[in-house]
Structures are given as structure tokens and as C-alpha cells.
């Protein structure tokens, strides 16, 4: 891995990546958000649902209604185990996908828009990189950081869900669909989030604004998984592979061609200030 990393990035590029990664770690707010993401989505939600599943009454009509929406519920397990299975098979994938997406948006927003807000974008553009390569290396830094957050999240999620499966005697959650989700779709979504946030940098004047604008990309991803929760379709391993292929195609286009339209001039030009709304007194 180290050899591959050294082959892909020159010494100057590695220096830039190390600077970006250490800057992310030094920024308390960003670090807090990146720690909170796995704790909330990978630990808190599974444990909460485990608690809810364990407390649910088998006679509750809500459980039956939920089961009627979905098929392929494993038989031979009690209501609590089935409830927890519904969570791990249908709801958790959506929650888990938010981790690489949101961490990608947060890291890329800080790496790109934050650089411009602090006046260091110009300084870094003075370095001997082409603009395209500069953007690609910064995007790679964000992908690395987000990838690390996702990997840690998965480990935590695995442990929390495995505890739930063991306690409730539910079927083990990790199947082929989860394999595709974690090892193929997550990296693709990470790159999508990073390149999307990077391309919106020109419109943002701060990290917070960049996160706000980039957050819109969460909606289509959520909608795909909400369809599954509503029982409209099931995202099995084949469907997830197709989705991965589509996102990888978008990633390749954005990463290689999307950055081409950027020039140093565009990156250095600050977007105009938004006109302030004048307060009017209402009598």
C-alpha cells in the first residue's frame, strides 16, 4: 500500500496531503463532527434500535404493519429478532451510507472552501502543481480522511450490530449486500461527496456555507434507500452493484474532467457577498 501511495503521489503532493490531513485533525469543530458521525450513525442508532426491538411487544400492530410492507423476512425467529433484522437489512444501509457521504462533504468543504476563506488557497497555488493536479491531490486527502472515518464506523457498527444479533438471536446482518455496500459503494460515494463539494467551492465563501450547499447531494442517496424502506423495491447485491457502477462512472467523469474547468483565476476569485436583507420596522 505504501509503495502504491508513493507511486501515485510525488513528494510535493504527499507534503500537501499531510498538510491537509493534519489541518483536519487540528480543527476542533471538524474533528468533533467526524467523531460524532460514527458515534451517532454506527453506534447510537443500532443500540437504540436494539433497545426498541427488545422492548417491543409482539402484539404491537405496528410491527405487523411493518412486516407486511416487506418480504423476505426470515422465518423461525421471534418478533424482536425480526424487528432488529428489519433495522439491519432495510434501515441501517441508509444510515450507514450517510457516514461516507457526510464525512466526505465535511472534509472536502474544509479542505477547499476553508483554504480559500483563510487566504491560503493562493499560497498553495504558488506551489509547482498544475491546478488540476492540485485539486485532485486535495480531493485525495479528503477521500483518505473520509475513508478512515467510514472504516472506523464500520468496525463500530459491526460490533454494535453483532451484539444485537447475538442478544436477540437475529440472523447475522452481514451478507453479500452489506459486502457490496461497505467495500464498493461506500468508497464510490465518498469520492462523489468529495468531488461534488470541491466543485461547489467556487460558490462558497466559508466552510459552513460549502457544507450547506453540498448537503443537497444527500437527498438523492436518501431517496434511493427510502424506496426500499417503503417496500417499493429491495436493494439486493445486484442492484447495489449496478448503483455502484453508476456512481463510479460519475466519479471518474467528475474527477478527471470536472476539475479541468477550474483555473487558478476562478479559484482565487471570491464569490460576491450576498446582499443583506434590510430590517424593516413593522408598525
Amino acid at each position: 500500500m505504501k509503495k502504491l501511495f508513493y507511486k501515485l503521489f510525488s513528494k510535493a503532493e504527499r507534503a500537501l496531503m499531510m498538510k491537509d490531513l493534519s489541518a483536519l485533525c487540528r480543527r476542533r469543530l471538524i474533528l468533533t463532527l467526524l467523531i460524532a458521525l460514527p458515534l451517532v450513525f454506527a453506534v447510537a442508532f443500532p443500540l437504540l434500535f436494539l433497545f426498541v426491538s427488545a422492548m417491543v411487544s409482539p402484539e404491537s400492530s405496528g410491527v405487523e404493519q411493518f412486516k407486511n410492507l416487506l418480504d423476505n423476512i426470515p422465518q423461525g425467529t421471534d418478533e424482536r429478532a425480526q424487528m432488529f433484522y428489519i433495522f439491519t437489512a432495510f434501515i441501517s444501509p441508509m444510515l450507514f451510507m450517510l457516514i461516507p457521504l457526510l464525512s466526505a462533504i465535511i472534509t472536502a468543504s474544509y479542505t477547499f472552501a476553508g483554504e480559500r476563506a483563510h487566504g491560503t488557497m493562493e499560497t498553495l497555488l504558488f506551489a509547482p502543481f498544475s491546478v488540476r493536479r492540485f485539486l485532485q491531490v486535495k480531493a485525495a486527502s479528503s477521500v483518505l480522511a473520509s475513508g478512515l472515518v467510514t472504516a472506523v464506523s464500520f468496525i463500530l457498527f459491526f460490533v454494535a450490530t453483532a451484539i444485537g444479533d447475538t442478544v436477540l438471536k437475529a440472523p447475522f446482518f452481514f451478507d453479500l449486500s452489506w459486502f457490496v455496500l461497505v467495500f464498493l459503494l461506500s468508497p464510490a460515494i465518498t469520492v462523489l461527496g468529495v468531488t461534488f463539494a470541491a466543485m461547489l467551492t467556487v460558490k462558497a465563501r466559508s466552510t459552513a456555507e460549502s457544507i450547506q450547499i453540498s448537503g443537497y447531494i444527500v437527498l438523492p442517496i436518501l431517496l434511493i434507500f427510502i424506496g426500499q424502506i417503503m417496500g417499493l423495491y429491495r436493494l439486493n447485491s445486484i442492484a447495489l452493484l449496478v448503483l455502484t457502477a453508476i456512481i463510479v462512472g460519475i466519479d471518474l467523469c467528475l474527477f478527471n474532467f470536472g476539475f479541468r474547468r477550474f483555473t487558478a483565476e476562478k479559484l482565487l476569485t471570491r464569490p460576491p457577498e450576498k446582499p443583506r436583507k434590510e430590517k424593516t420596522n413593522v408598525y
Binding site: 513528494k11 510535493a12 507534503a15 500537501l16 499531510m18 498538510k19 493534519s22 489541518a23 487540528r26 480543527r27 483563510h118 487566504g119 491560503t120 493562493e122 499560497t123 497555488l125 504558488f126 506551489a127 509547482p128 502543481f129 498544475s130 483555473t263 487558478a264 483565476e265 482565487l268
Partner: protein
């Protein structure tokens, strides 16, 4: 060898022409003062030369490299400091220099040596481990210069230096730039509106106004182009009558002369006419005098001269 060469270099932003047909040549090893008031195009010129901005017309080469097609190679040999480009606030001064040196491919030991030398020279050694966000504005300026010089560039572009309010800090910056240029033979393009600072270290000048290059060359060439001449300044008693070709200015009589070689004959002539001379001197045009021969002084009415094609 020509370090900087531009041919009809032009940059338009919509209807505004920031740089208009600039033809400039700078010899290697020179320290060139690029002078001009605000909005004269100094920053745009610097960005065009370093390849950060594409020209609308014309081209430029720096160290034989095209600013447009070979900008990456060019920036590898350049040190650039502007008043808008900040160092990384969350890192210490030393960390900043080592990181940027590493980006230019310097080895660690060499980078450490150069960084230490520059920090000491710019009086930042005691603050080397402090985070840059704790630095004052003057310290940030000096650190930016150190960042631009740490990798021993062949050409230095500086915009906005000096520009602080502390004379001591400005003097340090100028001395560092000047010493660096002498030690390494590097070319320096110093974009500034501080004429005194420019006159101190620059070997030649380029005067910009509204995007036009009004004049370029060393001070003697600029003086000749401005048609300003040295003045003989004679101080005599208050009641003394002087010949008609002298004018009274600030309590002394002045007369334009071609050169100081004219002084002996002029003084002899006055003595023959029984003029009692208390003091005689030659006043040569300063950079400021020459500059304002090409550029309107602040407060003077200036028609908006930006050409619209």
C-alpha cells in the same frame, strides 16, 4: 540573459483592461521595482507572469519558460509573496517553511538549514514554534517572505512588500530581499507603491498606470525619458539680485542644468557678476520626481483613462 520578457501582454476583465499591451524586458539578476498607484495593474501583471492568470492577448516568458504553457515549471523556480497569500495559521512558522520547502522538492536537512537562516534574518527565530495565527501582521509578512525564499528560487515576485507601518520591519524585509538577490544572483520583481523602499534596493524600474507601462529602465533612463533635468540650487543673501534665468523656490534660487559638469562655469559666472554665494549644490531628480512625471499625483483630476476596446 533575459529573465522576464513580455510581448503585448494584455488582460481584460469584461470591459476593464487591467493590463494593456505591456512590453517589458528584465535582465537576469536585476531587482526591478514595478511602481504604480492602486489599480495600476501591478498585481495582475504579477499573476500573469507567474501563470496564475491567462492573458487575453500577448504572452510572457520568465526564465525562458512560457507563463501559460509551462507555468508549473516556472513556479517551481519562483518564489512568490503577496499580501493576500497567507501562511498556514494552524502550523508553526518552522512547520510552514519546512512544508513549503518539501513541496518544492527540497531535502529535509537542506530545508531546515535554509529555514533557520531565514527565520533568524527576519527576526522570527524566537517565534519559530508558535502557531502562525498568533502572529502579528508584520510577523506574517516577514514569514511570507521567508516562505517565498526557503527553496532558493531563481526569481522572486513580491507584491505588497514592504507595506507595513513599521519602518524596522520594512527595512528588514528589504535587506533580506536585497541580500538574497546579491548572494544568489536571483532576479526580483518588487511590485510596490512605496517609492523610498524601491529606490533603496531596485536597480531598475517599471512604471505602470491604468494598465499601461509608462516607462521602464534604470533611474538615469527614466530621468532622461521624463525630461527632468538636474537643478543648480544656489543660496544667496535675501537682498541679492539674481539673473533672470533663476527662479526662487523655498528660499533658494534654482536653475535647470544639463549635468553637474555645468556647475563650475555657472558658479564662476555668478562670482563675476558679484553675486555673494552662501551655498551651491546640484539637486538631481529623485525617483519620486521622475515617477510623478509619468503618473498623476494623488488629488490631481484624472480622466478615467482605461481604454475600452
Amino acid at each position: 540573459m533575459i529573465a522576464i520578457q513580455t510581448a503585448n501582454l494584455t488582460k481584460k476583465y469584461g470591459d476593464i483592461i487591467a493590463i494593456n499591451g505591456v512590453d517589458l524586458e528584465v535582465e537576469a539578476g536585476e531587482i526591478v521595482g514595478c511602481l504604480g498607484p492602486e489599480r495600476s495593474g501591478k498585481t495582475t501583471l504579477l499573476r500573469l507572469l507567474t501563470g496564475l492568470v491567462r492573458p487575453t492577448l500577448g504572452d510572457s516568458t520568465v526564465l525562458g519558460l512560457s507563463s501559460v504553457k509551462e507555468s508549473r515549471k516556472l513556479r517551481a523556480k519562483s518564489g512568490i509573496v503577496t499580501d493576500t497569500a497567507a501562511c498556514i495559521g494552524s502550523m508553526s512558522a518552522l512547520e510552514n517553511l519546512l512544508m513549503f520547502a518539501s513541496m518544492y522538492g527540497m531535502r529535509k536537512e537542506q530545508a531546515r538549514t535554509h529555514a533557520a537562516q531565514l527565520l533568524k534574518k527576519l527576526d522570527l527565530w524566537n517565534a519559530r514554534d508558535r502557531k502562525v495565527y498568533t502572529f502579528s501582521t508584520e510577523m506574517c509578512r516577514r514569514l511570507s517572505l521567508a516562505r517565498a525564499l526557503v527553496h532558493r528560487p531563481q526569481i522572486v515576485f513580491s507584491d505588497g512588500l514592504p507595506g507595513g507601518e513599521q519602518a524596522v520591519s520594512d527595512a528588514m524585509v528589504l535587506r533580506t530581499l536585497s541580500d538574497y538577490a546579491k548572494e544568489t544572483g536571483a532576479t526580483v520583481l518588487l511590485c510596490t507603491d512605496h517609492l523610498e523602499s524601491a529606490e533603496e534596493i531596485c536597480t531598475s524600474f517599471a512604471v505602470l498606470e491604468h494598465g499601461f507601462l509608462r516607462a521602464s529602465g534604470d533611474l538615469s533612463m527614466l530621468t532622461a525619458a521624463s525630461e527632468l533635468t538636474p537643478m543648480a540650487v544656489i543660496r544667496v543673501s535675501d537682498t541679492q539680485k539674481m539673473p533672470e534665468d533663476f527662479t526662487l523656490h523655498d528660499g533658494a534660487w534654482e536653475k535647470p542644468i544639463k549635468s553637474e559638469a555645468d556647475m563650475p562655469e555657472l558658479i564662476s559666472g555668478l562670482v563675476r557678476e558679484n553675486v555673494g554665494i552662501y551655498e551651491a549644490s546640484v539637486c538631481t531628480p529623485t525617483l519620486q520626481d521622475v515617477y510623478y512625471a509619468f503618473v498623476k499625483k494623488p488629488g490631481e483630476e484624472t480622466p478615467h483613462e482605461e481604454a475600452v476596446l
